[in-house]
Symmetry: C2
Subunit: 121 residues, 2 copies
């Protein structure tokens, strides 16, 4: 199946659409953070690190809209809201893992290439 739609056109569109969905600044990070289980809004913000309240809200709404995560409100005081990956969202975990692994393995190499390239010009 990976080899069938390799006539540039279809694969390109598929990748493009995926990037439009989770290729933004925070989606993959939030998905990665949720991989171990449900988290509250505040915990999520703290663990992702560096994300503003606004962007976390927007990202979560986006994931919810795409059916990648669920939002559960508990009628308590103080209010508690938990977010959790759906089954579909969990299918992305291996991809995020692969990306993270690639990044961890190669970022030093890339930094070296980049420094060399910058020095050469």
């Amino acid at each position: 199946m990976a080899g069938r739609d390799c006539q540039d056109g279809n694969e390109g569109r598929a990748v493009r659409e995926l990037l439009d969905r989770i290729g933004d600044k925070w989606s993959l990070l939030v998905i990665g953070t949720l991989r171990q289980g449900p988290l509250r809004f505040g915990e999520l913000q703290q663990q992702v690190g560096g994300i503003s309240q606004r962007m976390l809200t927007l990202t979560l709404r986006h994931l919810e809209r795409d059916g990648l995560a669920t939002r559960t409100v508990f009628a308590e005081v103080p209010p508690r809201v938990e977010y959790e990956l759906t089954a579909l969202g969990r299918t992305l975990i291996p991809l995020v893992g692969a990306l993270a692994e690639w990044a961890a393995s190669n970022h030093l190499l890339i930094d070296a290439n980049r420094a060399r390239f910058d020095a050469a010009r």
Copy 2:
């Protein structure tokens, strides 16, 4: 190795940096297009589809800078320039493939979720 640096902090940074590099609008698409072998600037622009000359140039410089692709100029008339993935760049092909496959398998499902979500509000 995938399970070692899962203390959110490191994995998060790694994914973030990877996204800063290839998470833009065109990088993954160009990498995917180059997977079969070297291409000239014009061929690349045509096969990627929808990318402006400017963005293709920027994207290619970016990939070159990170050591993911090479630029080869042939001293001919008319001028010919070919771009090709490096060994490092080729290690990304399986990831792009996995992403494309995931997107192809799930985009209908996501569209349905999205339609339902939009209808509910």
